[in-house]
Amino acid sequence: MSGAEDATTRTPPAADAATPRPRWQVILVRPETVTFLFLIVATIGASWLSPFFADVRYILESFTFYFEFAIVALILTMVIISGEIDLSAASMMALSASLFGVAYQAGLGIPGAMAVSLLSGVLMGAFNGFLVINMKLPSIIVTIGTLTLFRGLAQVIAGDKSIGKFPAWFIGIDYRFVFDVPIPVIVFLIVSLILGIFLGTSAIGRQIYQIGTSPIAARHAGIRVNRIKYGLFIAMGLVSSIAGLLAASRLASVRYDLATGGELQMVLIVMLGGTYIFGGRGTILGTFLAAWLLVVIATGMTVANIPINAQLTVLGLLLIVSIIATNAIHVRTQR
C-alpha cells in the first residue's frame, strides 16, 4: 500500500484512474467498523433502556443462549466468503443432537453417543458437499432441501418426545465458569481467534477469498477449489453437531425441533458482521462482533420488557441498514 502511495506522489496519475484511498480510510471504512459502532450504540442504548442491563455477568450469561448459533456462524462466514451458503446447519444440529440422545438411550454412554453425533455431523456436511460439488447443484437449493430432510429424519429418529436424563456432569455447560466467565464464552473467543488467524493469514484462508471472488480464476490459479469447498461443508456439519451437543448440555434434553429457525439467526449474524452475501469479502472479526451485537440488542430489549414485535422490527431494520452499509463500502473499495 505504501508503495502505491509513493507511486502516485511521484508520477501524475492517469486521468481516469481513481486516487488511492488514504490509509485511515482503508483501516476504518470497513463493514466491521459499522458493526462495531452499532455494538457501542446498542450497548449505550440498552443501558439507558433498563438499569438491569449493564451487568457483565448477565450479558455473558445471556450470550450462552446465542452461543450455539454464533459458533456455527463463524464457519458459515467462511462458507459465504467462498461463494456458497449452508442453510441446513440448524437442522444438522437437531439431527446430530437427536442421534446423540437416541444413542445415549440405547446405552452407548455419553462419550460413545458424542462420537456418533460428531460423525453424523461430518457425514451430513459431506452429503451437502457431494450434492453441491459433485452434482454441481446450487448450494442454496441443496441446503434448503437438506434443511427439511435432516429435520424430518430427526423427527423420525427421536419421535416427538424429548430425550433427557443425561448424567449431571454433562448438563449445564453454560453454567460452568472459568474465572467467572461461562465456558461457552471462552470457547467462542478461542474459536474466533483461531479461525480469524486461519482465514486472515493462512494460504488456504486467502484461497477461500479467491474462490469467492472468482471460482474460475481460482481454479486457473491452481487452487483446489473443490477440496476446499468440501472441507468447508464438512466443517459446517462438524460445528453444527458440536453446537447440537452444547445445546443438549445447556437444555439437559434434546428434541427434534431443537434450534428450529436457527439458520436465519446464523445468516443474520454473518450479514450483520458485514460479510458480502455474494462471496469474496467478510471477516471472522465482523461475525464475532455481530454475535455480541445480536446478544446486546436482544438482551437489552428483553430485560427492558420491550414487546417482541418491536424487537424483531429493530433487528430487521438493523439488518437492512447493515446490508446497505456493507454493499456501499464494498462498491466503494472496489473502485
Binding site: 445471556s62 416427538d160 453454567y175 437444555l251
Partner: protein, 334 residues
C-alpha cells in the same frame, strides 16, 4: 406564607405517609411469561392477573416470545431473574427444556408458578401449577358434550394436538375411560384418535382424512383450539354439519363464525381469567405467609371459594368448564 408552609407540610406528610405505606407493604412484582405473542387466549388470563393485582396491590407485567418454540422462553426467564422480580408465572412451551433456567430462578428466591399447563414430569422445577379446571373431569365432560349432540349414538373420533401433549393425553385417557365404563355411552364407538400437532394444515388434513375414512362418523371431539377450528372448517367445507358434530375445546373469538352459521352447536372451555386471578392471590398469599404451599392445604380466594392444593402442588380454579353456544357466545371476548 402560612398557606404556603401548610401546603408544603401537607405535601410532605402525604409523601411520607405514602412512602411509609410502600415500605410497609413492599409491592410484590409478578411477571407472566406467555407461550407466544398474538395469542388472544392469554389476553383474558392477563386480565385476571391485572384485576387481582389492582385489588392486592402487586405489580404485574406480561411478556412473551414471538414463537412457542421449546427454548424461546429461556431468555425471557433469565431477563426476569435479572430484573429481580418476586414471582415468575409461566405457561411453559416445553415440559423439560426450561428446567435449568427455572431452577436458577428458584435458587434466587423467585416463586415459579406454571400456569395453564404443567411441566409434567419436571414438577420439581416449579413451586406450584395453576390449572384452569379439574383436568380429571375434562375428558368425561367432553364425551358428555358430544353425546348430548348425537343422542349418545354412533361413531366418534378424537383430533388431538401432538402425541405427547401432556394435557390432551390426560383428557383422552379420561374420554376413553368414560366411554368404556359409563353405560350411558355404550352406543358411542371411538373409531380413531388422530393428531394434528396443533398446526392448522396438519389438523385440517387429519380432519379431512377422518371424514373420508369413516363415512358413518357422527362426531369429532377436538380438545385443542387449533384442532377444533380446523375440524369445524373441514365439516363446513364438506357441507356435513348436520351429519358430523364437531365439539371440543376452543376460544369464543375463534369459534364465533362457526357457531353463528350453525356448523358447531356448542363447545367448551374454562375461563382463563380465573387462572390469572387465582395465581395472583396464591402468590401474594404465599409471599405474605398466609398460605402454605403444602399438598392438602386450603385457602380462600374471592369469587372462586375454597381452593385446595392437590397432589404435586397442583391447584385448579375449581370452576367447571363453560359451555359456549349461540345463546351466550356474544358475552365473551377472548
Amino acid at each position: 406564607m402560612f398557606r404556603k408552609s401548610l401546603v408544603f407540610g401537607l405535601a410532605l406528610g402525604v409523601s411520607m405517609a405514602s412512602g411509609a405505606a410502600a415500605f410497609a407493604q413492599e409491592s410484590l412484582s409478578i411477571v407472566f411469561v406467555g407461550k407466544n405473542t398474538g395469542n388472544p387466549y392469554f389476553d383474558s388470563l392477563v386480565q385476571g392477573f391485572e384485576d387481582a393485582c389492582d385489588v392486592l396491590g402487586c405489580e404485574f407485567e406480561f411478556v412473551a416470545p414471538a414463537t412457542a418454540e421449546a427454548t424461546s422462553q429461556i431468555p425471557f426467564i433469565t431477563a426476569q431473574i435479572q430484573r429481580r422480580v418476586d414471582v415468575i408465572a409461566i405457561s411453559p412451551n416445553s415440559p423439560d427444556a426450561l428446567n435449568q433456567v427455572l431452577d436458577r430462578a428458584r435458587q434466587r428466591g423467585i416463586l415459579v408458578l406454571s400456569v395453564n399447563g404443567d411441566i409434567t414430569g419436571s414438577e420439581e422445577f416449579r413451586d406450584a401449577a395453576i390449572l384452569p379446571t379439574d383436568f380429571e373431569k375434562v375428558g368425561s365432560d367432553q364425551v358428555e358434550m358430544l353425546g348430548s349432540l348425537i343422542n349418545y349414538e354412533g361413531e366418534i373420533a378424537i383430533l388431538s394436538a401432538t402425541t405427547e401433549a401432556p394435557d390432551q393425553n390426560k383428557w383422552i385417557v379420561g374420554m376413553n375411560e368414560a366411554l368404556e365404563n359409563n353405560p350411558k355411552y355404550a352406543k358411542m364407538t371411538l373409531v380413531a384418535t388422530v393428531y394434528g400437532d396443533d398446526q392448522p394444515e396438519k389438523s385440517t388434513t387429519e380432519a379431512e382424512a377422518l371424514l373420508s375414512t369413516y363415512p358413518n362418523l357422527r362426531g369429532i371431539i377436538s380438545p385443542t383450539t387449533v384442532g377444533i377450528a380446523a375440524s369445524a372448517q373441514v365439516v363446513q367445507s364438506a357441507n356435513k354439519a348436520d351429519q358430523v358434530k364437531v365439539t371440543g375445546l376452543g376460544t369464543p373469538n375463534q369459534m364465533r363464525p362457526f357457531i353463528k352459521d350453525g356448523t358447531v352447536e356448542a363447545f367448551q372451555l374454562w375461563s382463563p381469567y380465573n387462572e390469572g386471578w387465582l395465581a395472583s392471590y396464591f402468590a401474594v398469599g404465599l409471599k405474605a405467609g398466609t398460605i402454605v404451599n403444602e399438598v392438602g392445604a386450603t385457602f380462600e380466594v374471592p369469587n372462586l371459594g375454597t381452593i385446595t392444593i392437590n397432589e404435586l402442588n397442583s391447584i385448579n380454579t375449581q370452576a367447571g368448564l363453560t359451555t359456549f353456544n349461540a345463546d351466550n357466545i356474544d358475552d365473551f371476548n377472548f
